[in-house]
Amino acid sequence: METLRKIEVITPKRGMFDVRLHELWGYRDLILLFVRRDFVAQYKQTILGPLWFIIQPVLTAIMFYVVFGKIAAIPTQHVHPFLFYFTGLTVWSYFSECFTKTSGTFVANANLFGKVYFPRLTVPISIVISGLFKLLIQLLILIVLIGIFSLSGIQHISIHWTLVLFPVYVILMAFMGLGLGILFSALTTKYRDLSFLLTFGVQLLMYATPIIYPLSFTSGRIHDALAYNPLTSILENVRYSIYGIGQFDAFGLLYTASFTLIVLIFGILVFNRIEQSFMDTV
């Protein structure tokens, strides 16, 4: 029994880089249980259950088809607008969900965090994993839609080998969403205004990302500005791999990866800092 004992020292502030990621490993079961809880608790009382995962993007894509495809008539190269939007939305919604949901970590769990200690990062990590289920279901629908459009001859599909990078894109979005989300969640404990900024900020960010238009549709300053959006390369590359439009942007992907890494590290450091003191400020 003696060997199992661990000596722990509680001091005012841990070092900036003492983030104790190994502690998270010890709580891996908790992360999975949180994932399960999110899934079960969210859909237990709804009639359609996980069908909502499908209904939401399909309806949004139809709306976009009407507004941007028909009314505004934004060209989508030679991809059917509905398919174009649905693809973009599937990818985008995973990122935006990771971002917005993890950004509420501290405020939404203040009661729980106030009573018991466990590594706080377990909560945002479980959110990012929960989101994967939703993404998976939406991807299945996307595959079905592509099949229908392709077989009926509406859409020509040209799968490129770079599609194997898709899991990399998912991981990048997960980490970027997580990094930004925990950064915001840490800051909102001190500056509540940020939560307002976030809700419409994410909506605006969607329009600043090539989801309802291809990057090639833009030009000049706007085109250059979009290149700074770390999500641009992911969306462009996904569409290139499936429909063969645009081009594969390796440099952009590298930029996205570096951006993600920096945001994630910075987010974890700030989160770790706030984690130790936030109970006194909420």
Partner: protein, 419 residues
């Protein structure tokens, strides 16, 4: 072997609205810092005293706390509300970090104040056992091993696959407690304050504490129940305004706790221009004094209580009496007494009244006093509301039961078994 070692522990809290304008404050603070100036916002209040409005923006909830706890020891922590007990527990359970100082813990800490934390109403009992267990630091394997034990301890076998939102509150608490009770930590924190109201639950807590201590593990017991502390703990510490004012054997520490009760609570005195009242009467002072054979200034169930009232009367030739109401903390009136009848006639000026509540009448608990000046035994001139608050402490011998007696009164009534 020392299991808990607390050295020079300090905890500072910031008062007031945190958030408003703090971005600007933070920028300003940072600007001062980089120029090497002092923090323009740091004003620290001297002591943690809730009765007076703190002057600064910060308050010390804990100041220079030092103590050690050995393996297998049961340490009682007592103190009034706001003395810093909860802050200490929160730091020990890592919910918040100290401002200064160091704690060395040798072993896993679990506390019974987290009962039911993280329960999700939509999930079934089974799912909640796993979730709650994991939140409290168990692995899935550990929980699975103890699962049957937890379920049978809780007594909700039949409903284990029912969402807990359909549970009665009793079932809910039993299940939650069962999870916490099977944690098997090396250090157990029991905050009894949060468990009041459910006698069954208290008994279980205390029973579990005894088991844990018996198995060579360490217990920190925070309680208002002096009898339980006296009987369960080998040692106790008394916190007051965030510092340890007494440490040692429980009976010694409890006595200093009872002696050190804030005397300001036991009486009030006013200047005439700011005294409560109206054009007919004003209150000069009200004071409570315990009368005991041993002369100690403690209010227990064995103390008689003398209440002295001084008031100004502004009505000429007032035929008046006082009507005193004693209320329990929950608001029920325990009794109402009035001064002598027929009422005396009072002239304009200062008058006094005295009331003695006999010992062995009131039960332990918090009480408050209101009184009225009544004209012609029918017309209230002013109601002095809640002018005095006091707490009657427990004092009993020859009993192994540590729970609170129910009821507001506990009169000394002759009741014997004859053989």
């Amino acid at each position: 072997m020392e299991v808990i070692k607390v050295e020079h522990l300090y905890k500072q809290y910031r008062l007031g609205q945190v958030g408003t304008g703090s971005l600007i404050q933070d920028i300003n603070r940072w600007w001062h810092k980089i120029r090497g100036n002092e923090d323009p916002y740091e004003v620290i209040s001297e002591i943690n005293d809730r009765t007076t409005q703190a002057k600064g923006d910060f308050v010390w909830a804990l100041e220079d706390i030092n103590f050690t706890v050995n393996q297998g020891e049961v340490l009682g922590i007592i103190g009034r509300n706001g003395a810093g007990k909860s802050s200490l527990l929160k730091i020990l359970s890592k919910v918040t970090s100290p401002t200064n100082g160091k704690i060395t813990l040798n072993g896993r800490v679990a506390s019974l104040l987290e009962v039911g934390t993280g329960f999700n109403p939509e999930l079934t009992g089974r799912e909640n056992i796993y979730l709650n267990g994991a939140i409290l630091g168990m692995t899935k394997k550990e929980i699975a091993r103890k699962f049957d034990e937890i379920v049978s301890f809780s007594g909700v076998e039949k409903y284990i696959d029912t969402p807990v939102k359909r549970y009665s509150s009793g079932m809910y608490v039993r299940l939650a407690f069962a999870v916490a009770a099977h944690l098997e930590p090396e250090i157990l924190i029991v905050d009894e304050v949060l468990a009041v109201g459910d006698v069954d639950f208290q008994k279980k807590c205390i029973g579990k504490m005894k088991d844990v201590a018996g198995a060579g593990r360490t217990v920190l017991f925070v309680s208002h129940n002096m009898e339980a502390v006296k009987n369960l703990c080998a040692r106790a510490i008394l916190l007051e305004h965030g510092t340890i004012v007494s440490e040692g054997s429980p009976s010694h520490v409890i006595e200093s706790y009872l002696n050190n009760r804030n005397k300001a609570d036991w009486g009030r005195c006013y200047d005439e221009h700011e005294a409560p009242g109206n054009e007919f009467t004003r209150l000069k002072s009200i004071a409570l004094k315990p009368l005991r054979e041993d002369g100690k200034p403690m209010i227990t169930v064995k103390s008689s209580l003398e209440i002295n009232i001084s008031f100004w009367n502004y009505v000429e030739d007032l035929v008046a009496n006082l009507s005193l109401h004693l209320y329990a903390a929950t608001g029920e009136c325990v009794f109402n007494v009035i001064t002598q009848l027929p009422p005396p006639t009072l002239g304009v000026g200062l008058h006094h009244a005295r009331c003695v509540i006999p010992k062995e009448l009131l039960n332990s608990g918090i009480f408050y006093v209101s009184f009225m000046l009544v004209q012609d035994t029918a017309k209230p001139l002013f109601n002095f509301d809640e002018v005095l608050t006091f707490e009657v402490e427990e004092e009993r011998e020859n009993t192994n039961w540590h729970g609170k007696f129910p009821g507001f009164v506990r009169p000394n009534i002759d009741f014997k078994i004859s053989s």
